[in-house]
């Protein structure tokens, strides 16, 4: 009845092992190459008095990379990234801490849940963008209005998931703890809180991607700093390669952050109650 590991894992070739990564990587490279080719061919074909592809509307990968180094040397890009990054970290950080704390309290006390439910439902179903003018009135167009926009984007998924996690407490575990004379405090720390962790991490993953949206949207509504501003300004002044560069930076940040959040979530998924 004890499991033994007598069977060796079947041998797989390098390709079999990394099939997903290889196919995905190749497809990205092919698309980039096609893009680069279309762009350079389009630019170098003098049909009429102008190029087919105008740099006002379109750009190529090499151009975006060039732009990146130019902006980086200039120093503007670094400070924009630092500005957006700081706003993101503060906003999401505040959202996670306050979301977890209020979520645990609301989830644990049934009456509080009843009292707060109508407000939460109303705020949760309102698109957060609709609140931005109000945020600007309250906080101005400085850094703290950006942080607050990130915060209201990221707060609700953490809150809602934490409440759900605390409520989803496993009845069997509760019964076992009670049978061993657990106090309410012991039940809270040994059953309720660890049981809510996987749910909280689902909230964190959602908070990360919504917080990123908050950063970009917030900077488009005024101010003069950050990657979101850079994209918006680039668009208004027809600097297409700047717009692309901004989009690529935001996308990379999104991919990296989501990847980490997913890893974290998956690692703790076995804490979920079975069934």
């Amino acid at each position: 009845m004890m499991e033994t590991d007598l069977l060796e894992p079947p041998r797989r070739t390098f390709y079999q092992k990394y099939e997903a990564q290889i196919l995905g990587g190749v497809s990205v490279i092919v698309v980039l190459a096609l893009w680069q080719w279309a762009w350079s061919v389009g630019r170098e074909t003098p049909t009429s008095d102008d190029d087919i592809i105008s740099p006002l509307f379109f750009t190529g990968p090499s151009q975006v990379v060039e732009r990146f180094f130019a902006e980086w040397r200039e120093g503007r890009l670094k400070s924009d990234m630092a500005y957006s990054g700081t706003n993101f970290v503060i906003g999401v950080g505040l959202a996670i801490t306050s979301g977890v704390v209020t979520g645990v309290i609301i989830g644990w006390y049934r009456r509080l849940a009843m009292i707060f439910e109508p407000f939460l439902t109303a705020l949760y179903s309102t698109p957060r963008v609709a609140l931005i003018p109000l945020v600007l009135i309250w906080f101005g167009i400085g850094m703290w209005s950006k942080v607050f926009i990130v915060f209201i984007n990221a707060f609700f998924p953490v809150l809602i998931n934490t409440i759900g996690g605390v409520k989803a407490i496993d009845r069997d575990l509760l019964r076992a703890a009670r049978a061993f004379c657990a106090s309410d405090r012991q039940i809270f720390t040994t059953v309720v809180i660890p049981g809510a962790v996987p749910f909280i991490l689902t909230g964190v993953r959602q908070a990360v991607s919504l917080g990123l949206i908050g950063v970009v949207v917030g900077e488009m509504f005024g101010g003069s700093e950050g990657i979101g501003f850079m994209v918006n300004y680039g668009g208004q002044t027809f600097q297409t390669d700047t717009v692309f560069l901004g989009v690529v930076i935001i996308a990379s940040a999104g991919i990296t952050l989501t990847w980490f959040a997913e890893r974290l979530e998956r690692h703790f998924s076995r804490w979920r109650p079975e069934r």
Binding site: M1, E3, D172, R175, F180, C181, E274
Partner: protein, 276 residues
């Protein structure tokens, strides 16, 4: 001396939906002697789990009394430990962490004792080497071993077992039954064992109480005459099947069984020792 005394226990439920009153247990009297292994069999829905939950202190009761060592049961206590049907292990704790859990909650042992007892009971249930595994990495049978070790490690006077092997496959179940007897012969706790499997009850117990369904009542108590230690082959012997059959007939309400090997006790508390 009787360890566990249940006297004219009656338990009512209110069905919330229509305010109806349901009688789950009526006039249940049972007594279990110190160190005795008592099994309770009955059809599903006969209230046997309700009975165990009351003895465990997890359900309140109004009519009748339940007492352990002469003290009225009024909530969970360190004198009892429960082995649940679903292993109810904390998925974020290792085997060792789960075995330690009950002792941690009860705070009766110092750190060194706690460590020793954890090791000891992991070894006793045959899980040495699996201390650092998580429940999700264990088979159902192994999870129930952890469940059992957790209960034993808390050092209860009475062990309450709620169909602990019901979710296991037939072969694992047989194996676990034999293992339980071996562990019990070392630990010698008073045991109240709930099951719906008559042969499991007969194989394990000193006495078997038969309950009827709706409302739950004790129909009769059989004394199991087999000497210990018992091997699994006992289950294939004619005398075993005879006892099993007699209990079956009572469960199915076809009258009182008559067999030379079986004595039927009425509901009166009895103090006759059955350990040979």
């Amino acid at each position: 001396m009787n360890k566990l005394e249940i006297d004219r226990l009656t338990k009512r439920y209110y069905v919330e939906r229509d305010g109806r009153q349901v009688l789950a247990l009526t006039d249940v009297s049972l007594s279990v002697a110190d160190g005795e292994f008592m099994a309770i069999v009955g059809p599903s829905g006969c209230g046997k789990t309700t009975l165990l939950n009351i003895v465990a202190g997890l359900l309140p009761y109004e009519l009748g009394t339940v007492s352990i060592d002469g003290r009225r049961v009024d909530g969970p206590g360190v004198d009892r430990a429960v082995v649940f049907q679903h292993s109810s292990l904390l998925p974020w704790r290792t085997v060792a962490g789960n075995v330690r859990y009950g002792m941690e909650l009860q705070k009766r042992f110092d750190a060194a004792t706690l460590r020793d007892r954890t090791d000891h009971f992991i070894r006793l249930v045959g899980l040495a080497g699996f201390e650092r595994h998580y429940p999700s990495e264990l088979s159902g049978g192994m999870q129930q071993r952890v469940n059992l070790a957790r209960a034993l490690a808390a050092d209860p006077m009475a062990l309450l077992m709620d169909e602990p092997f019901a979710a296991l496959d037939a072969q694992t179940r047989e194996h676990m039954q034999a293992e339980l007897l071996k562990i019990w012969s070392e630990a010698r706790k008073t045991v109240l064992f709930i099951t719906h499997q008559i042969n499991e009850a007969v194989y394990l117990a000193d006495r078997v109480a038969v309950m009827s369904g709706r409302p739950g009542r004790v129909k009769g108590v059989f004394e199991v005459p087999f000497e210990r230690p018992r091997s699994l082959s006992l289950k294939r012997e004619a005398r075993f099947l005879q006892v099993e059959d007699a209990i079956w007939r009572l469960v199915e309400d076809k009258g009182i069984a008559e067999s030379t090997n079986v004595r039927i006790d009425e509901f009166e508390p009895q103090s006759k020792s059955v350990n040979s």
